[in-house]
């Protein structure tokens, strides 16, 4: 399952690493949109498969941040 950004912004930090187990609603990344920090949460329980972006990357709406399986 893909985790995507709800709004355009810059990645501040990725708060998980590949292979890590997460529960639903765990914080997985922080992005900055309009000078405000916005947390991205895991949509479901699973294991982080692939992280596609890193801190400093600019994202558009619906860009994939990582995959969870």
């Amino acid at each position: 399952m893909e985790v995507s950004t709800p709004m355009p912004g810059t990645v501040l930090s990725i708060d998980v690493s590949e292979g890590q187990k997460v529960k639903a609603n765990d914080e997985v990344a922080t992005i900055e949109a309009m000078k405000m920090e916005v947390k991205i949460y895991a949509p479901k329980e699973g294991v982080i498969k692939e992280i596609k972006v890193g801190a400093g990357d600019n994202l558009n709406v619906n860009d994939v941040v990582m995959n969870i399986e």
Binding site: P6, M7, N25, A33, M34, K35, M36, V38, P43, V61
Partner: protein, 371 residues
């Protein structure tokens, strides 16, 4: 000789300081405190506060016919030059994408202007004249440059109070919006998750400022100074071929005129003009205006939900009070509190920028009706 010495000593400002001057210094220090310690609108409150501070020294001549501060005021504000220039910079910073993606949110920006008229009647009840009430009402639009623009046109003697009230209530948006928005919505409504906004093409974004000019200026001509500059700045940004002009409008030019605006506004706040009962009236009505504006937006959103299948989260209506982007941020945080996966920020930007347009239109309508 003694007489001469006495006369020269009497020319020292020290002997002419009044209690009013000292109180105004205290007002200036409060503004400095808010700006430096609390980081509330520091870019504006520092120049305004300093203007207040210096304007309350006796015998400086700064406010005389050819005084320095008088010139900032006369050629910058009284001529209505600076507020439109600030709008140029704001236009070059404003992304209309969210409101173009969800055009219904224009109506939320309109509904929030009810605060302006609510406050207008409130001010009349307190005994202000029609033009004064118009100038005070516009505080409900939560837009600094527009408030200055309008109060200068309708009631220049209230300009200092109106400007400071507008900026200080804008800073209080995080305190004013939540209780009002919460009281008018249910938990269920606040947790409504809105569908993803569609991507808006570049062409749409370039065409919008031109279409907006045609519609707004032909319907409300007196809003032209603000709207035209706002849309020009936006065209600079969206057309993508004049990056230098975009950059100078939103940075260098904006910063320069902000200094002049701040000093000009601050210099209007002398003891004689500010320490009056009127000022208390302005501040009281100002907060009422904010509350009605916020409620107007929320109730409009609820009304639209009755008729529309695609539900909108009524919280975003509260972002119709301009205060860009603070109001949108507050709304986002309220939504996230009910449901962490609810991202309202971009949705709230729609009514937020629509509110800026709405307030400018309001100002235009008030000017043509009252002058």
């Amino acid at each position: 000789m003694e007489e001469q010495i006495a006369k020269n000593l009497a020319g020292m400002g020290l002997f002419h300081l009044t209690a009013g001057n000292l109180i105004m210094w205290a007002v200036a220090f409060v503004l400095f405190y808010l700006a430096i310690k609390k980081q509330i609108e520091p870019l504006l409150l520092i120049p305004i506060g300093f203007g207040v501070f210096i304007a309350n020294f006796p015998l400086t001549g700064l406010l005389g016919e050819h005084g320095l501060f008088e010139m900032f005021y006369k050629y910058g504000i009284s001529n209505e030059l600076i507020p439109p220039l600030i709008f140029l910079g704001l236009g070059a910073m404003t992304d209309f994408g969210p409101v173009l993606a969800n055009p219904k949110t224009f109506l939320l920006g309109a509904a929030a202007q009810l605060g302006v008229y609510g406050a207008f009647f409130g001010a009349l009840l307190l005994g202000f004249t029609l033009p004064e009430a118009g100038a005070i009402g516009i505080i409900g639009g939560a837009d600094g440059p527009t408030s200055i623009f309008l109060s200068n046109a309708l009631a220049p003697h209230l300009l200092g109070a109106v400007a400071v009230a507008a900026y200080s209530y804008m800073a209080l948006v995080p305190i004013i919006i939540p209780p009002v928005a919460k009281a008018l919505t249910t938990k269920q409504e606040r947790s409504i998750v809105m569908t993803q906004l569609r991507m808006v093409s570049k062409g749409e974004k370039i065409v919008f400022p031109l279409l907006a000019c045609i519609i707004i200026i032909s319907l409300v001509p007196k809003s032209a100074p603000l709207i035209s500059m706002f849309m020009l700045g936006n065209l600079f940004m969206e057309c993508g071929v004049v990056e230098r002009l975009t950059d100078v409008s939103r940075n260098a030019l904006m910063n320069i005129v902000t200094i002049l605006l701040g000093l000009g506004v601050g210099s209007r706040m002398t003891a004689a003009t500010f320490l009056r009962l009127d000022t208390i009236g302005v501040f009281t009505i100002g907060i009422v205006a904010f509350i009605i504006a916020c409620a107007g937006g929320v109730l409009m959103a609820k009304l639209m939900n009755v008729f529309s299948k695609q539900k909108i989260n009524p919280l975003i209506g509260a972002a119709g009070v301009s205060a860009v982007p603070m109001a949108a941020r507050v709304v986002h945080m309220m939504g996230a509190k009910e449901n962490p996966q609810n991202y309202l920020l971009m949705h709230a930007m729609g009514p937020n920028v629509a509110g800026v347009i709405g307030t400018a239109v309001c100002a235009g309508a008030l000017i043509s009706a009252l002058t």
